[in-house]
Amino acid sequence: MVEIAGYNIPNEPSELTVEQFDKINFITSNQELDEIEKWIEKFKYLGVDESVFDDMEMEEFYQLIADWNDQPPHPKDKVLSVEIDGYTYEAKPTIGVKDLGMIEKVWKSNNGNFAAETLAIIYKRSDLTKTEHYAPAHIKHKTALFKKQPSSLVIPFIIEVLEKLTKTTQQIKDAVTEELEQPNN
């Protein structure tokens, strides 16, 4: 936790929920805001009253940003099984092409729920069938559940997913655009 003018706000992955993690990233990617506006929006979202920033010196403001960013190293180990509301949700150690494709769609939609929906796709309830895992209503339900989980759960997956999305998407595009001249029968 970080204290800003008497307000304690979460900053570590174990303190932030997945929903907060998504919202903060969504603000970061908002092209209509400048850097200072983005940070004010983030602090406001995490519970600090806007009036706190009215008379704040820039040096103090930069210090707050530095304090908020002063976090322990991000967790790297994936949690492969979690229990929520009495049900066990399991993730595989490596991500398959269907899950990555579905996550790619979420990424492109930029709907502000990327981390929560990524977890909803990756974690599958152990008592359900494959078809049930991917039913839109079930994904929506799981997204709501995972929003309340700590963001430390999603970070190891997000790192891998973004790496794979960037790398393999480019490789696929390269493969598709490769110029081939000889006809083939």
């Binding site: 595989k92 490596t94 991500i95 398959g96 092409v97 269907k98 899950d99 990555l100 494709g101 579905m102 790619e104 769609k105 492109k108 494959k130 794979k164 393999t168 998407t169 490789q171 696929i172 595009k173 493969a175 598709v176 490769e178 081939l180 000889q182 006809p183 083939n184 029968n185």
Partner: protein
């Protein structure tokens, strides 16, 4: 996983399925390519879902031939049915081919093949004769579904080439559409435009009706005439304004 190495390993129905896929409908490069892989390997998509993305990339490289066209020359014989040269087609066959080609020729490929590949006999004069066009091509379409695409695809470029030459030879009949204009038309031009639109809607029916002397019972006689003969006749009527 056994991947096809070239178009020879894929059937016509696989080709049609592949061409019907639109990447934008999937919203994901991975999901689209997963479906492609499922079609070309004839595998249930569920069995491929856990494939590693890197492996998918490898497969896509191996399937690069999919981005080229299959063989462009028409096969002479398929399933004991013989390719009927386009120069010999009847007027009715041409009208149906035009319909198939203007309504997604890849999706209609098997029906196009059914129309173009026919039984053939040598008559008492030693002349080869193709069976008459007395069947519905869609009833025979199944005969071509499992044929390799390299056998069936050639009919498409062959017909497009024939059609292009035909359009050139009978330019007076197949005039290009006049460019649409934003200008307001005077009543006379408007009437002409409306007539033109009506003709477009009823194009071939109107031609048959006129050539049959406005006697609908003679329509079959007109559609059974050789295409080239009909076009020559139409050209003459057009030139002489008769």
């Amino acid at each position: 996983m056994q991947l096809p190495k070239n178009w020879n390993s894929l059937t016509t129905s696989q080709f049609i399925e592949l061409k019907a896929l639109k990447e934008e409908d999937f919203g994901s490069l991975f999901l689209y390519n997963l479906e492609v892989l499922s079609i070309v390997t004839d595998t249930d998509p569920e069995e491929l879902e856990d494939l590693e993305p890197e492996k998918l990339v490898e497969y896509i490289y191996e399937l690069n031939f999919l981005r080229r066209e299959p063989s462009k020359s028409a096969t002479e014989v398929i399933n004991d049915l013989h390719f009927k040269p386009f120069i010999l087609i009847k007027f009715g066959e041409f009208i149906d081919l035009e319909y198939y080609f203007s309504n997604d020729f890849v999706n209609n490929l098997t029906s196009i093949c059914a129309l173009c590949y026919r039984k053939k006999v040598v008559n008492e004069w030693g002349v080869e004769e193709f069976e008459p066009y007395r069947f519905n091509p869609s009833d025979r379409a199944h005969l071509f579904e499992h044929e390799t695409i390299t056998k069936t695809y050639g009919v498409i470029p062959e017909y497009l080439k024939f059609r292009s030459e035909l359009m050139q030879s009978y330019e007076n009949l197949f005039m290009p559409d006049v460019e649409e204009s934003d200008e307001e038309l005077d009543p006379e031009d408007l009437k002409e435009e409306q007539e033109e639109q009506k003709f477009k809607k009823w194009g071939w029916e109107k031609v048959i009706y006129d050539l049959a002397g406005e006697d609908i019972t003679k329509a079959d006689q007109i559609t059974d005439l050789p295409l080239i003969m009909v076009l020559n006749f139409m050209s003459m009527k057009y030139e002489l304004r008769v």
